[in-house]
């Protein structure tokens, strides 16, 4: 029986990054992915003959430091910027904000001159806050109650960065972290349309409306990982990030196995010693890292009898309630969006005309219903990457909120809803659809083991962030089971394809190993 230094269960960007870093450090590493494709839910799937589309997350970028360390460019990673964001408005109006802030302010000046004057200052404030977050994301979250010396040093560094912003900005950034997106945007802007569009990134992937406290944090999270208003994907689709990471990991000697689902972690006397596959095969390892969320890890991979009742209770209390449905449409030709310039079609198209619209889209989800007026984002990835569809044909990839997990929604209804809403802006859309794919929260759970279909491993709220993610007291990638670690979106810094959780987890594991070696 072969034995590994570390076995990693799951294959998100974080899992692959952890694999690559550990292999690079000389470990013998094996990664196991239950599905046929490395990447799990971060996959670009052929959903119809010749048409490929992202299944789950459909934008994001790997952390630049990780890309450098692992030379991902050499492994074929090529980023595609999706750098405009268009608001689709009633009566076939629209406006498009480019990434360049002065150019964006010029656009805003056309309908809200006062807002245009404040746009640059607003974005600079968001920069300060998201820079702070980025610093916090680059390391293991410090324990806040009684910090160790290392934790205290990290806290001091963050406090020092904040203090360096100056007295006024320090307070402004602090406020931002706890505010609702509504409160924030009301402070800065007058235009309902502008506020709606800017709030969309604050509720993306979250089962909350923009009136909810802490939604600004979700906005900052997206900005910090480079997936805010200016988005990116990879040539070949989001799955190409996984492929590049996989290639990098393999180049350092890691083994990657698809179609190899772990049934459980093997634990004896509170220490993880390996994994057992669904086939019954047992693989021994010194350490095991779970890429799964905390509920999956601590109820499916590790039985709750192995854990303390208090811990099990904390696991039960994690909020998931995924509410993102994905719809991919294979199109005969490029649809025309009335009033939207052709170059804007390559960016993100958003239906979020006001704060109240977004909040109302969420209202039903509280009671388990889907709104007839959902928050929708869409992109046409084939415009920048012709490899994703047969010549002349296109893919429209739709992100729809809120389709709450707890309601067993009919996917057909979601498909019709997405097409109906988008055809208000693109009247020829229904006639162009050749094939379609709908992925509901329940599908994400069943196919990829994501609890309640949550794409971010648990809601990105303040109560589940930093030293509280995924569980208070276990935010430093370690678990109550010795030699069992976590590295997925469930851990700090949360959802997305940055890979940071994997790098942080690998660092913690390596520091434990060197400690063990000294022992």
């Amino acid at each position: 029986m072969t034995s590994y230094d570390t076995v990693i269960l799951g294959s998100s960007a974080s899992a692959l990054a952890a694999t690559a870093y550990l292999a690079r450090a000389g470990q013998r590493v094996l990664l196991l992915e239950p599905s046929a494709q490395i990447g799990g839910a971060m996959t670009t799937d052929e959903f119809a003959d010749g048409f490929r589309a992202d299944l789950g997350l459909y934008s994001g970028r790997i952390d630049p430091g990780i890309a450098r360390d692992l030379r991902l460019h050499d492994h074929g990673l090529e980023a595609i910027e999706r750098d405009t964001i268009t608001s689709l408005l009633p009566e076939r109006r629209s406006f498009t904000l480019p990434a360049d802030r002065e150019a964006a302010a010029d656009v805003i000046r056309g309908f809200a001159p006062n807002d245009a004057a404040r746009y640059g200052q607003f974005m600079r404030l968001l920069d300060l806050a998201s820079d702070l977050l980025r610093s916090a994301y680059a390391t293991t979250p410090p324990e806040a109650h009684h910090p160790s010396a290392a934790d205290a040093a990290r806290l001091m560094a963050l406090a020092g960065q904040l203090r360096g912003y100056g007295r006024r900005e320090m307070a402004e950034v602090t406020r931002l972290l706890v505010m609702s997106a509504r409160d924030l945007l009301d402070e800065w802007f007058e235009s309902a349309e502008l506020k709606g569009l800017l709030a969309s990134a604050a509720v993306r992937g979250l089962t909350q409306g923009p009136f909810a406290g802490g939604t600004t944090f979700n906005l900052l999270h997206h900005l910090a990982i480079g997936d805010g208003y200016v988005r990116a994907t990879a040539k070949g689709g989001i799955g190409a990030i996984g492929q590049a990471l996989a290639s990098a990991a393999q180049s350092h000697g890691a083994e990657l196995r698809a179609n190899a689902g772990a049934a459980r972690a093997v634990v004896s006397d509170g220490v993880a010693t390996g994994v057992q596959l669904e086939s019954g095969e047992v693989i021994a390892a010194t350490r095991v890292i779970s890429d799964y969320d905390a509920r999956q890890t601590f109820t499916r991979l590790v039985g709750s009898p192995e854990l303390e009742p208090e811990f099990n209770r904390a696991v039960r209390n994690i909020r998931y309630n995924g509410a993102v449905a994905r719809v991919n449409l294979a199109l005969r030709e490029l649809p025309g969006f009335a009033g939207v310039a052709e170059e804007a079609l390559g960016g993100t198209l958003t239906i979020a005309p006001s704060l109240a619209y977004l909040e109302k889209a969420f209202d039903g989800a509280k009671y388990g219903d889907i709104s007839e007026q959902p928050y929708i984002e869409a992109s046409l990835p084939t415009l920048a990457d012709a490899t994703l569809a047969p010549a002349g044909k296109h893919v429209l990839s739709v992100w729809l909120q809120y389709a709450p997990y707890r309601n067993k929604l009919d996917p057909e209804r979601v498909r019709e809803l997405a097409i109906a809403r988008l055809s208000e802006y693109a009247p020829d859309l229904p006639s162009l659809v050749l094939h379609s794919q709908v992925v509901m929260p329940r599908d994400f759970e069943e196919r990829f083991g994501m609890s309640e279909g949550h794409l971010y491993g648990g809601d990105m709220t303040l109560a589940q962030a930093f030293f509280l993610r995924p569980l208070p007291g276990f935010a430093q990638y370690r678990t109550p089971i010795e030699q069992l670690y976590l590295c997925g979106a469930a851990t700090h810094p949360g959802g997305g394809v940055s890979g940071l959780a994997g790098r942080n987890a690998a660092n913690e594991l390596l520091s434990d190993r060197s400690f063990d070696d000294r022992r």
Partner: protein
């Protein structure tokens, strides 16, 4: 033109203004309180709007009043008598009910009727909330530090805050960190399964707050309301004999005894500022009063956008005050009744429950729906209510055989679409009465007189911006060292010798007396 000189002038005779004046006078200052209305108390008043019936037109219960205020001002000697209000009765639409008794075991037994598991959890929940409240209570009487400052005093206070948090049990610290940003409903879901119990327990997270029980941030408000229930002096919510107005009278008594002059019918038009320093106030009738310091009990918006000319203030500060969120969802309804309402779900032998709170809060979804109705500028079609019948506790509140009912009602937006007017007030009052009559069908037959204070009325009559009972929402971006504005949370203002002592300052709303007392401590630091 009159000319008068004092050490300190307090603008507004609300309970915090009176507390502040009393503390300053006890420290030897010559203090004048100027109150706009015919009586002191601000929102802490009892009024006989319908002859013979005493209405609690604004605040109605006392629980968070700081024990040090009661003791140091000897309020009992000045006539304050608190009668415990210990039970809660929650009628349910299905004809059942949930009760909370003064006796812990009785409550446990009652909860068992709804869920055995919840009865168990209730024990631990009560202990945990008590521990959390005790742990963070020291923060209430603290002058908030400025974390951006490197002054010795601020660094010391920061160390004290860290000390308070560091002294907590680890699991309590984590719970507190989560509760601060969670929704009340999510928090209660972690403890309980019974719909009715979660409904009534979640109301502490929404009182006075434009949030639903499922809104993140309501967890903090829940904690805020728990802080009073552990004071030792009161075990629970209390009712002042004579209504909350009697509390104001007691504080005014203590203030007068210490030498405070109180003038009613004396509306202040402006704070007089010379060379960046407050030197006194001018009344609407042109009279001027001069003092070394001026303290405003008014909310921050009224103080800095109406009473002070903005040219005296830094732009940044004016910006901060303008952006302070102050939307209010809260109304007060008072009814004069010819008899007692008969609740269909109340068992015959349990009429004692009418002496406590009567809550229309059957479930979290009911409350959330009420919030959803109002949050876009409307009002709840089925409102949340926290009612009591003061005349059952204190017979002096109504003529013999008759009763008065006080109802705190949410949600009706201060930013009602199209604005409030008399017709809309009457419509919403009907909604309130119709809703309550579903639980007590005889209600409409026994109403002698009805009265509503919408946020619009609270603003017009009492003078609080948007009628917000907390002088600004208890949102996380405007509490502690951020309330009402970063760097100005220590009761001082950008204008020298002008201070704040109202609920726009730490620790915020409710009848606590803490802003008044803390502000006096800050003033006495500057001018011993």
């Amino acid at each position: 033109m009159n000319n008068h000189r004092y050490d300190a002038i307090v603008i507004g005779g609300g309970h915090n203004g009176l507390v502040n004046a009393a503390y300053l006078a006890k420290a030897g200052k010559h203090v004048l309180v100027l109150e706009r209305r015919h009586t002191v108390g601000g929102a802490t008043i009892t009024e006989e709007i319908y002859p013979g019936f005493k209405y609690l037109i604004a605040s109605y219960l006392i629980s968070l009043l700081r024990p040090e205020v009661i003791q140091e001002l000897e309020l009992a000697r000045h006539g304050l008598e608190i009668m415990p209000l210990e039970s809660t009765y929650v009628p349910l639409p299905n004809g059942n009910y949930l009760a909370d008794w003064p006796d812990h075991d009785a409550t446990r037994h009652e909860i068992e009727r709804h869920s055995k598991r919840d009865a168990e959890a209730y024990e631990e929940y009560s202990r945990t909330m008590r521990r959390l409240a005790l742990a963070v209570r020291p923060l209430l009487s603290m002058i908030p530090p400025d974390p951006s400052s490197l002054s010795v005093k601020d660094l010391e206070t920061m160390a004290r805050v860290r000390g308070v948090l560091g002294a907590m049990r680890r699991d309590d610290f984590y719970l507190l960190a989560r509760l601060m940003t969670m929704s009340a409903a999510d928090f209660l879901d972690e403890w309980f399964e019974s719909t009715a119990l979660k409904g009534t327990k979640s109301t502490s997270g929404i009182i006075g707050t434009f949030l639903g029980p499922r809104s993140p941030g309501s967890g903090y408000v829940l904690l805020h309301h728990y802080l009073g229930e552990v004071d030792g002096v009161f075990r629970a919510w209390g009712f002042a004999r004579g209504g909350t107005g009697a509390l104001s009278q007691a504080i005014a008594g203590a203030a007068r005894e210490a030498g405070v002059e109180i003038q009613v019918n004396a509306p202040v038009a402006q704070v007089i500022v010379k060379n960046g320093a407050a030197t006194g106030v001018a009344l609407e009738n042109g009279d001027e009063y001069h003092a070394d310091i001026v303290v405003s009990n008014a909310d921050a918006k009224r103080t800095f956008l109406k009473l002070v000319e903005t040219k005296h203030l830094p732009d940044e500060f004016v910006h901060d005050v303008k952006r302070l969120r102050i939307s209010s969802p809260a109304c007060k309804v008072n009814l004069a009744l010819d008899g007692l309402p008969e609740f269909t779900s109340l068992p015959k032998g349990l009429t004692a429950l009418l002496r406590g709170s009567i809550e229309i809060a059957p479930s979290v979804d009911y409350l959330e729906q009420a919030y959803d109705d109002a949050k876009y500028g409307g009002w709840a079609r089925k409102p949340f209510m926290d009612a009591l019948i003061p005349s059952l506790i204190d017979p002096g509140m109504a003529p013999p055989g008759k009763h008065v009912m006080s109802m705190f009602v949410q949600y009706a937006s201060s930013d009602l679409e199209g604005g409030w007017n008399e017709e809309k007030k009457a419509q919403f009052l009907d909604v309130v009465i119709d809703t309550l009559a579903e639980y007590a069908p005889n209600l409409k037959d026994i109403i002698l007189h009805k009265h509503i204070m919408t946020p619009w009325d609270i603003e017009n009559i009492i003078g609080i911006t948007s009628g917000h009972i907390f002088h600004g929402e208890l949102a996380l971006q405007q509490i502690f060292f951020l309330r009402p504005s970063p760097q100005w949370s220590n009761y001082r203002t950008p204008i020298r010798n002008l201070y704040m002592c109202g609920s726009s300052t730490h620790p915020g709303g409710c009848i606590t007396g803490a802003p008044g007392r803390n502000a006096a401590l800050a003033i006495l630091e500057d001018r011993p």
